[in-house]
């Protein structure tokens, strides 16, 4: 990998270690403060709680690394989840419904990519538009009502356990993490994502087909959002018309907390997993400690601001 796109030296290591140290310090503090925190049951519960956000944030990492942003992830999640539930309610099988939802998510993501690349629309605006459009489509498709899912096999996607211990959503999260990590670090596509985010013009001149890379990252983001939609729909035994509102911000927060630069070209997938865990531990810990929910939001906002400020100082 070219030196310009990797992190070098002690400062770079600190930047990589920063989120991890933050996560360890937070876990340590919560273990001391609450006897219920450091138990297998609680840690697995937190992993399951973060899995939806992590799945979306993995896709978001690719988009942000490539210098873009995707605000439509929560809306894609809601729409594809509703389609999956709707297909099953209409009597279709689980496999077909899930594949249709995933395919639709991929397609919607690619359409975002088309707007951003060939359409030359700023990513913020393009995905804000598709977010609003998809929210409307979801509301009209569901008529604002939850669509209940009775399929027992489908319910296992979000509610089952592996070996009676590890919740299935946690398995999906780690599989997506492993595949995503491979895609980012072990393939030409991954290198082109870094190149594009680092310097679009330089990337174009050195032969990177930037429009295709953009289709790829937005498509991946759409696909993972749809997958998160399937898992969430299963977890809730129903598709909710307003599911996933605000999830785009949680995903961006996880990416940024993990040390990935919003300017693109610099970051890593491990950091995003750490960022998602940070948010999850914070949510869980503040609840275990019985902190008033009003102050919980203050704490979370402050943590994000501090993390970004620390990142800026480097």
């Amino acid at each position: 990998m070219p030196a310009a796109f990797s992190l070098n030296g002690a400062a770079a290591w600190m930047q990589r270690l920063g989120p991890l140290i933050g996560l360890l310090l937070l876990s340590l503090a919560l273990s001391v403060l609450s006897p219920d925190f450091l138990t297998t049951g609680n840690l697995l519960t937190v992993l399951r709680q973060v899995s939806i956000n992590a799945l979306i944030a993995f896709g978001m990492t690719f988009v942000i690394l490539a210098g873009g942003i995707d605000l439509s992830v929560g809306a894609i999640l809601a729409f594809t989840g509703a389609i999956a539930a709707g297909l099953m309610a209409a009597g279709h099988g689980m496999a077909l419904s899930v594949l249709a939802a995933l395919g639709l998510g991929l397609l919607l993501g690619v359409l975002n990519g088309v707007l951003v690349s060939w359409g030359k629309v700023a990513p913020f605006i393009a995905t804000l538009g598709s977010m609003t459009l998809l929210r409307g489509l979801t509301l009209s498709y569901t008529a604002g009502q939850p669509i209940a899912v009775g399929n027992g096999g489908f319910a296992l996607i979000g509610n089952g356990y592996l070996a009676h211990l590890v919740p299935n959503p946690v398995i999906w999260m780690f599989i997506a993490f492993a595949l995503g990590g491979f895609l980012l670090r072990g393939t030409v596509f991954g290198r082109h994502v870094f190149a594009l985010g680092g310097n679009e013009e330089a990337a174009r001149l050195s032969g990177v087909r930037i429009n295709l890379v953009k289709l790829g990252v937005y498509g991946l983001s759409g696909l993972l959002s749809a997958f998160a939609g399937v898992v969430l729909t299963s977890r809730l035994y129903s598709a909710q018309a307003t599911a996933g509102s605000g999830y785009e911000l949680d995903a961006i927060a996880a990416v940024v907390l993990g040390g990935t630069s919003l300017a693109g070209g610099r970051g890593w997938l491990v950091g995003t997993l750490i960022g998602a865990l940070l948010i999850g531990f914070l949510n869980n810990g503040l609840n275990l400690l019985g902190v008033s929910s009003f102050y919980q939001q203050v704490v979370k906002g402050a943590v994000i601001l501090v993390a970004v400020l620390l990142d800026r100082r480097k």
Binding site: T45, Y161, A163, H164, Q240
Partner: protein
């Protein structure tokens, strides 16, 4: 190769592990979650999972619960879902991990929270639902206002006030919640066969700002309207603002809940009436019922908290 060898390894291990998965229907809880409720010493902890605190009704409910907890010598832990069912499941799980003695659940949604109730069942923590019910899972008690009867009271009031004829707009609450369903059912049921007609019925999600915008839109579409029934006071206050903006002072607005703002608006003549719930009492009875469960005393499966119609003539 070494760089991504780790990823490949993880992927391979996980895929191999996923293949050995149990068949359908065996969603056993993690072993650690099965410990008995309320094992910690000292004051018993009761968890209260609220749907939102962005609504004075639930804040009042919480205050009633807090006061009752203080009187009963219980510690109350409050978690807030900000109307997101996924977030509420997470916070109920946190309460389960905290091993609270009883969970008071005010569900964001009747279908989505069933799973969380079942998880609490598996951990042997009793659940009491407040204001809204859940579709599945074992619930020790459900405490709510008699919403169907309340919707009927609103309809009776309008029939009398309008001389049994006219057009009514209905502002609905969050679709899928039992409160929205029951109030609508009671209201529309009591109007059946009367001279009043519901000409439009749209959700404004129990929210004041949406009540304002939905009413503005509906007034454009249906200028010939004599009354608005909103399934809560927040939407009614939004509707009153919309009427003020449109200079329509001949339309009667009836709210539901009897929040402090709603009661004040009735006094000021902005609302014709409100069907007053007693949210503080729901919270209070919730905690008292939790106390009974902790003391191993029997509780009623359904507790109806009374409602009353408050208008300018019939102030409480």
């Amino acid at each position: 190769m070494r760089k991504y060898g780790f990823f490949a390894l993880t992927a391979a291990a996980l895929l191999a592990a996923a293949c050995s998965q149990q068949g359908p229907g065996e969603s056993a809880a993690p072993a650690a979650a099965g410990t008995a409720a309320g094992a910690a010493g000292g004051a018993k902890v009761v968890g209260l999972a609220l749907s939102t605190q962005n609504n004075p009704f639930f804040v009042e409910l919480k205050q009633g619960a807090e006061q009752a907890a203080k009187e009963a010598g219980l510690t109350l832990t409050v978690v807030d879902a900000q109307d997101d069912p996924a977030k509420q499941i997470a916070s109920v799980e946190d309460l389960i991990q905290k091993k609270v003695a009883v969970i008071l659940l005010n569900p964001t949604d009747s279908s989505a929270l069933s799973g969380a109730v079942q998880e609490a069942n598996q951990a042997h923590i009793p659940v009491i639902t407040l204001d809204r019910s859940v579709d599945n899972g074992q619930v020790a008690s459900h405490i709510a206002s008699d919403n169907v009867a309340g919707g009927g009271k609103a309809a009776d009031f309008l029939r009398q006030a309008l001389g049994n004829k006219g057009n009514v707009i209905e502002l609905q609450g969050v679709p899928g919640t039992s409160a929205a369903r029951d109030r609508g059912q009671g209201f529309e049921g009591a109007l059946k066969g009367s001279g009043l007609r519901v000409i439009a019925s749209q959700p404004a999600n129990f929210d004041r700002a949406q009540g304002l915008s939905v009413t503005e839109n509906l007034l454009q579409a249906h200028p010939d309207v004599q009354a608005i029934f909103a399934q809560n006071d927040e939407m009614a206050l939004g509707a009153a603002r919309a009427l003020e903006g449109a200079k329509r002072d001949n339309v009667l607005v009836v709210g539901f809940d009897g929040t402090p703002d709603g009661m004040q608006a009735v006094k000021d003549g902005k609302l014709a009436a409100t069907v007053a719930q007693q949210p503080g009492m729901i919270g209070r009875i919730g905690v008292q019922t939790a106390k009974s469960l902790i003391d191993n005393q029997p509780v009623e499966a359904k507790i109806a908290v009374p409602l009353k119609l408050v208008s300018k003539d019939a102030a409480p």
